[in-house]
Amino acid sequence: MGRYVARRLLQMIPVFIGSTFLIFAMMYALPGDPVRALMGDQAFDPAVLEAKRHELGLDLPLWQQYVNYFTGLLQGDFGTEIGSGRPISEIIAHAFPVSVRLTLFAFTFTVIVGIGLGIVAGLRPESVRDRGLLGLTLVLISMPSFVLGYLMQYLFAFQLGLTTPTVQDSESFGDLFLPAIVLGSLSLAYVARLTRTSIAENLRADYMRTAVAKGLPRRRIVGVHLMRNSLVPVVTFLGTDIGNLMAGAIVTEGIFNVQGVGDAIYEALFRREGATVVGIASLIVLVYLLASLLVDLLYAVLDPRIRYA
């Protein structure tokens, strides 16, 4: 087990370097110059521009810039923003907890409601409630999050007056309730469908018949035998979904004015602050990679036939 984890962590390093380099290259290969933007509309001396660029190391070749950036990153230095001079670690420290909270909130909602609905539908395949749930999830999947976000905002804030249209305090759980539901709804639909298919399939399995024949109580048959065998594909999906949830927060945070990483990344993109974008994106990639490792380890817990030497 320990050796497996160590091997997986080692395999993660090239993927992490590759993904961050790709984002870095996209960011720097693109037109738009933050140094030029510093000058505003004023007339400027090209020599000043050149000097500033040299000072920031922007005149070096791309790979060298990346090496410099990555060495800094390894030492915990995310760099500073060119425009504001603010250390990027400060921006991240401010925005990351908010998004983590929002993501965890959405994730919990997805897991509880999604798996719950999936079980309810999967236990009675082809019944009315099964078909109703399939229809509902199809509608949820076909609604991009901005559509659902504005519908919810219109309904709950403007029509019913239950909440404020945008989030006033990004730190409060009550305020994050609506954004979290909007953020989690797409994953919720997928989780419900996966759970439903998996449960409906396993209902016919031999071990289920055996469990019934042994006279076990229904609660135990469904809760232990069926669930444990049915959750493997769901857990796989959930693991890969955490990264997507954090990226999806760009839209949700924009609609509800939550001051999280999505908001920070969106703003940095338009100010061409490459280091901020790459820094936050690297963290999201890291979360994604760690989550997929966690999923692989969870397999062994759910299915003892899977063993990691």
């Binding site: 290969a29 738009g32 993109l269």
Partner: protein, 320 residues
């Protein structure tokens, strides 16, 4: 002459199907399943599936709208008349008239904009899916069939692209372009989206590689390109098509989301995402300006999702 009668008898048999097995010659009834390939079997299934019929009908209408928008509305999507303010509410009874869905903030007919906006969504959805399928299949087939170093390299590259969340990557790529035409958006989505198909294709090819017919073809001295094109590809196609059709709806949603965020398509291109984005200023007073294009996005995505679902159910024998 006798050959011809035999041929007509066979074709008559395949047309009549299983309805008249007694009259058919013995040689034909001996192997009636021969005419039912995976594809004809799936087609027989699909024809009877109401979900498939509804979604296919919707998709045909959407294709017609995006090909000939002029047939569906007399108004122009870019004619702005400030006398038709957004506060003038929709006339739900005026079917297909310019004021059916009311007017947006600049006095443009929302109905006309919704009709003309279909083209962008459909082009992005179909274009991205087609390119992603071609590129992903080639990469996945190369990785799966050749194995070894090729596989390790291509799989690591796939992992790297997969590590970047789709929406985030698309945002980064697209902010760099000043003039974002439909093709720029399509290429950006293809750049990030080919990995899913590549993985599916690789998995399918690895399974097929060990099949007896591939080994037999190799033993008979067939060239690599012949094995790949005539034996491996046709058999790997079903899972690829399933994933591609389901992804199509997702690409349409992605285009709308990116246009909504201001990094996808932009004015003067007519696109549902752009219209949703401009409609949010008046959400409180004139929600229809935002909701109508949003509903169009959802209906389109829904149609392609249902279509993909139906195709998957028909092609995947495990689900039957």
């Amino acid at each position: 002459m006798p050959e011809k009668t035999a041929a007509t008898a066979v074709s008559a048999e395949t047309e009549a199907g299983a309805t008249a097995p007694d009259d058919a010659p013995a040689a034909v009834t001996a192997k009636p399943e021969k005419a039912r390939s995976l594809w004809s079997d799936a087609w027989g299934d699909l024809r009877r599936n109401p979900l498939f019929l509804i979604s296919a009908g919707l998709i045909l209408v959407l294709l017609a709208i995006s090909a000939f928008p002029g047939l569906f509305t007399s108004a122009s999507p870019r004619d702005a008349d400030l006398a038709n303010h957004y506060l003038q509410h929709p006339n739900w009874g005026h079917f297909f008239a310019p004021d059916w869905f009311g007017y947006d903030g600049q006095g443009r007919s929302i109905y006309a904009r919704v009709i003309y906006g279909a083209r962008a969504s459909i082009m992005v959805g179909v274009g991205v899916t087609a390119l992603v399928t071609i590129i992903g299949t080639i990469i996945g087939m190369a990785a799966g069939y050749f194995g070894g170093l090729t596989d390790s390299l291509l799989s690591r590259v796939t992992d790297i692209f997969m590590g970047i969340p789709f929406l985030l990557g698309a945002l980064v790529v697209l902010t760099g372009f000043e003039n974002r035409s439909i093709w720029v958006v399509i290429l950006a989505l293809v750049f990030l989206g080919w990995t899913v198909i590549a993985r599916v294709a690789r998995g399918a090819v690895i399974n097929i590689k060990q099949a007896d017919y591939v080994v037999a073809a190799k033993a008979l001295g067939a060239s690599t390109s012949r094995i790949l094109l005539r034996h491996v590809l046709p058999n790997a196609l079903a899972p690829i098509i399933v994933v591609a059709t389901i992804a199509l709806g997702g690409y349409i949603a992605a285009e709308a989301t990116l246009s909504f965020l201001g990094v996808g398509l932009a004015e003067p291109t007519v696109s549902w995402g752009v219209d949703v984005s401009s409609g949010r200023e008046q959400l409180r007073n004139a929600p229809h300006v935002l909701i109508i294009p949003s509903v169009m996005v959802s209906i389109t995505v829904l149609a392609f999702l249902m279509f993909g679902d139906a195709v998957r159910n028909a092609l995947d024998p495990k689900l039957r």
